[in-house]
């Protein structure tokens, strides 16, 4: 037996079980990178596991664009849907809650309990909507740092996240180099390429051209549902891969029904995407989607002078970046170049590439090698 076989051997796994969220509320004005200010903020978060005596075992998980603070467990026993990274977080799992105190918060600008465009502006008594300050990934991270302060933590054992969570992770490593012991960024990039910006803007246009959007001032029971659903459907395609979609749907048709109108759902893939679009409308705020996608488009570790190495100089902690072969949204090269820059700078950093066929969303699917990699990186 060689040691890689030992790495993927099975561990006794359990579940975090029933969880509940908490709210961190700050009454201190929060200034955004853009200069905008909110008089205070709330971050909704969940924790799993226990903080040890010397407070050295905390791991912060950063979620992706449409994720939230609920990354593991269920809210009650009847719930079938578990947190978005349930296979990764729990007793005996790669992010082992028997060893680590795990924190995950909904981002600033989000819409699942944290302060965002849908929150009430205390100054007007109405939702911020488009009065919400321009948002950056750095703002999200600075808000998270306030939460970490409030938990009495000087330092995190690790920060980890995929996609937008990976960008936050990198920003953490840059902005708070002495506050984290290591970081792992999955399916991420140092900046969006033209294609990623193009997809995001097309999604935003779908929302903003929906008559129900009303320049961002819509009632919570009358959102721009059509625009938001189309934006989600299109974005969802970019999270998958050609091979993955072909394997899952191919040209499979819904049950034959001659009474069906010509443009009604015919193929399975249409049905799937429409369902994804509808589901999304029920859980996500359109303005929040606009703000978050814009923050992603503007995220740029190359900086104005195009020097990635310059921006990464501040990093101290050892890093792990994981790319996925079938990810065409944030392709392997976009992940690799981060590590290449770190290595040029003489920083401790590793790059691993997984040949999974689930596209950008590969980091959200269980794979033995991904398990082994994350577990190994966090535990050493």
């Amino acid at each position: 037996m060689n040691d890689s076989e030992a790495l993927v051997s099975t561990f006794e796994e359990g579940e975090v079980g029933i969880v509940a969220h908490s709210d961190f509320v700050s009454k201190v004005p929060f200034e955004f990178e853009s200069g905008g200010v909110v008089p205070g903020l709330c971050l909704r978060y969940e924790t799993y596991g226990h903080l040890n005596k010397d407070k050295s075992n905390a791991i912060l998980i950063c979620h992706a664009l449409t994720g939230d603070h609920h990354c593991a467990g269920v809210y009650d026993m009847t719930e079938r849907k578990q947190g978005w990274w349930n296979f990764m977080v729990g007793p005996g799992k790669p992010i082992d809650t028997k060893k680590y105190f795990v924190i995950c918060s909904n981002v600033l600008g989000g819409c699942n309990g944290s302060t965002g465009p849908r929150s009430i502006n205390p100054e007007t008594g109405k939702p911020y909507n488009l009065d919400f300050p321009k948002l950056t990934v750095r703002d999200m991270v600075r808000a998270q740092a306030l939460l970490i302060d409030s938990l009495g933590l000087d330092r995190l054992h690790a920060v980890i996240g995929g996609s937008m969570g990976g960008m936050q992770t990198l920003q953490w490593a840059i902005d708070f180099p002495e506050r984290l012991g290591r970081y792992a960024a999955l399916a991420c990039c140092a900046r969006h390429n033209a294609q990623a910006i193009a997809f995001n803007d097309t999604g935003r246009q779908a929302i903003m051209r929906d008559p129900a959007w009303k320049k961002g001032v819509y009632a919570s029971d009358a959102p721009p549902a059509h625009g938001l659903a189309v934006a989600r459907m299109m974005a969802h395609i970019t999270y998958l891969s050609d091979a993955g979609m072909e394997a899952r749907f191919g040209r499979k048709r819904r049950a034959e029904d001659s009474s069906r109108e010509h443009f009604e759902v015919e193929f399975e893939v249409e049905s799937y995407l429409r369902y994804q679009g509808q589901q999304f409308v029920s859980r996500f705020d359109a303005n929040s989607y606009l703000y978050l996608t814009k923050a992603l488009d503007r995220f740029d570790l190359h900086g104005s002078d195009g020097r990635l190495d310059e921006m990464l100089k501040a990093v101290q902690a050892p890093g792990l970046v994981v790319g996925f072969g079938s990810d065409w949204l944030y392709p392997p090269q976009a992940n690799r170049e981060i590590v290449e820059a770190l290595l040029r700078l003489g920083k401790p950093a590793s790059y691993a590439e997984l040949a999974l066929n689930a596209g950008h969303d590969s980091f959200l699917l269980r794979a033995p090698k991904l398990d082994a990699l994350i577990r190994t990186f966090l535990d050493r």
Binding site: N2, L7, P318, R336, E340, L343, P348, A352, A372
Partner: protein
């Protein structure tokens, strides 16, 4: 434990002697990161390993060795001239697609390049082909031709010729006998089982 693994680390001691305290080291085909781990611990080097196999990368991560999963030649292009003190190929040159191109690139990126290789001209290998008409099958060459990776085994004579024709300067070299342990003082092209070269640009 693979019986070959001890032998696989045969050049580590020689390489370690050529490495200076705090050097920046790039190990191409780093495997599980054993050499870099030792150099990091003993000589406080900044080490980076490159390997094409994910399992090897995971093992490096376990050892705390920075590792990059990818193609050796592609990654060399990402580094500036003389940005490493030493670039190491330990039993990996024979696996390269275009060894001459990659070695030239390694000499650009590294101030020194170390190449450790099995001498294919070792007398036993010659004898096997001479008497049986087939390549030798032993712990150095454990797999049959049809179950092993494509590789370009070469001899000390061939490597010397390559260095000469490309103007690569041989700063130092060390020959080991068939047991890969004792120094081989005579007729290395015939009597050495393993050779380690320290190279710089001409």
């Amino acid at each position: 434990m693979n019986p070959n693994s001890k032998k696989r680390q045969v050049d580590f001691q020689v390489i370690a002697r050529w490495v200076k305290q705090g050097d920046r080291i790039l190990d191409l085909g780093c495997g599980r990161g054993v050499l870099l781990e030792a150099l990091m611990q003993q000589q406080s080097v900044y080490g980076v390993g490159i390997d094409i196999e994910l399992d090897k990368i995971i093992s490096c991560v376990k050892r705390g060795v920075s590792a990059y999963h990818g193609d050796v030649h592609a990654v060399l292009k990402k580094f500036e001239d003389a940005s490493f003190d030493r670039v190491i190929f330990s039993r990996s040159v024979d696996l390269l697609e275009q060894a001459d191109v990659t070695l030239t690139e390694a000499l650009r990126v590294g101030k020194h390049v170390t190449v450790g290789f099995v001498n294919h001209g070792y007398w036993r290998n010659r004898l096997s082909f001479f008497t049986q008409g087939r390549r030798i099958h032993n712990e150095v060459y454990p797999n049959q031709w049809h179950e092993s990776r494509p590789s370009n085994p070469f001899s000390i004579g061939e490597f010397d010729q390559f260095c000469k024709s490309t103007g690569i300067r041989i700063v130092n070299r060390k020959y080991l006998r068939g047991n890969w342990r004792d120094t081989c003082p005579f007729f290395p092209s015939l009597c050495a089982g393993y050779a380690i070269y320290d190279l710089t640009k001409g």
